[in-house]
Subunit: 209 residues, 2 copies
Amino acid sequence: MLNRSRVLRLSRYKNAVLRLKSLNFVRVFSDNLADATGVTAAQVRKDFSFFGISGNRRGGYVVDELLSQLNKTLGKDQFHDFIIAGIGNIGKALLRYQGFEKSSIRIAAGFDIDPMKYNPNGTVPILPLEQMNEYIVKNGIKLGIIAVPDYAAQQVLELMKSAGIKGILNFAPICLRETSDCVINNINLVTELENIIYFVESAEAKKGK
Amino acid sequence: MLNRSRVLRLSRYKNAVLRLKSLNFVRVFSDNLADATGVTAAQVRKDFSFFGISGNRRGGYVVDELLSQLNKTLGKDQFHDFIIAGIGNIGKALLRYQGFEKSSIRIAAGFDIDPMKYNPNGTVPILPLEQMNEYIVKNGIKLGIIAVPDYAAQQVLELMKSAGIKGILNFAPICLRETSDCVINNINLVTELENIIYFVESAEAKKGK
DNA sequence: AATAACTTGTGAAAAATATCACAACAATTC
DNA sequence: GAATTGTTGTGATATTTTTCACAAGTTATT
């Protein structure tokens, strides 16, 4: 069965391998990846085994081979276009984020309802939300990011799905439900901070006692 | 044992209850929360039971009571100050993010090495990174956000930890390892998008076959 | 070419997590 | 006030995920 956190770990391994490669490593061991990503070596190997990624006994994994296997598994052997709905603080940050390009991720266009945000001729065009459907269909976009306020999220989700979007990263602070025809990852910034608060507070409490 | 995803779910329940409250719900059932957050009703009850949150048989949970129990458990009965290191795209977006205040989360200050970013007299002061240690110690800050480039992340982590930070949300695309004295949550935007790409691609592949 | 050193790949075991199913109970109806 | 209905709280069960442990294999050394 395909397991979400297993795929997340695969991405982390890939990042770790990239960093090791930049340090001129030619081979890596499951041990190295375990250290770099905070899991056990057995888990690294189990994960690889699950996706049919293999190395050499005693020789570990050849960095370049491993990278290409990881990229292939993750579908990173081709460019992927995303669109963003909502050009607020988060949306703008994602538009400008430098880290995507080298991971063959491209933000193709942004959409908003606020005319002040429109910029049809920018590097990444910002267009009226009404044009989103047309854009998605015309360009065959399959991937979207939702960065609108909570009250608009569900509606934007429906718009995206009906236009043919198959996968969404959602930053709106509301848990969008995924369906069989559309994968959704929810990132809730408040929730993430609350999580940290909880563990820090409970550590304090334990110590105080 | 305390379980990270259990606490994350608790935050989601809290958000769901807040939304139901705004719809004038007076009581909620585990069923409602299950629907709103995409888990089973049994899980909601198990989670509550774990934290000692209880309702009434047949009567469900009284919204206001439940909220205060959730907030108390999550340590949201008081304000929490965070600092941010790295005032780039992500850092700036977080500084301006509107959603924190009503969750009693406050960004107290930002730090960067670029003098162009300094703004010591803004609503949220942006100060030189060299002053971070002093600021943390002086104000008793326990919580931090890392939004610097990958190559600087480890170093900023050490700075924060040595100054007394106990919990960190990390946006740098490198997996920072948590230690017994400092909780860390890593959010890697590329990884999140890759995860979606993977599931969309593999769904495509399955359909094509 | 035999031995030693070391790492993978993976079944088996353990641990963690989620679901089931139902007794216990509270509100409502008859 | 007895019967009915509906919901919680939770042991027991099932499933998922992780770790263990070691045979199988590869390279290096003597």
